[in-house]
Symmetry: C2
Subunit: 88 residues, 2 copies
């Protein structure tokens, strides 16, 4: 298993589909962040499906992969809700 | 030194100030992500200043802190430019 932090910048036309898919594997942490533990084969599947769902010329998804959740300390300032938007 | 990944969801009224500040310590990776190596005292300063710049009731900033950049594998799908917006 690996620990994933997924951060994305995706056009509003495609974002709902990407979020709906990522929710099947990961936890929605903040507006543009998902986290969770997955197997290497699930990680491969996530990348393949995300590639299909986004427009690679316009959108961007970063996968940070850690061997364990314990390797990262996390601190949050402000609201912990995922509803904040960078652009209004 | 520690390696920081900073992800934020910040109202458009305050985002320029936060980005301008973070750029003095870190590298802008994507619309809502900064990364970089800083000392523990710089990390403390970053948190204090970010707290001053944001509205903690509306905005959210997550700091992922790693002992080393080497502990995380990073893969990017799509554009590497930081100009993509989640909301249009």
């Amino acid at each position: 298993m690996v620990y994933l932090i997924v951060v994305y910048g995706i056009n509003v036309n495609r974002i709902d589909a990407v979020r709906k898919f990522l929710k099947t594997y990961l936890t929605w942490i903040q507006n543009s962040v998902f986290e969770g533990e997955v197997s290497e084969s699930q990680f491969a599947e996530i990348k393949t499906t995300v590639k299909d769902l986004i427009d690679e010329k316009q959108d961007s998804v970063i996968f940070y992969k850690l061997k364990s959740r314990k390797l990262v300390d996390k601190e949050t300032i402000g609201t912990s809700k995922g509803e904040v938007m960078n652009i209004i």
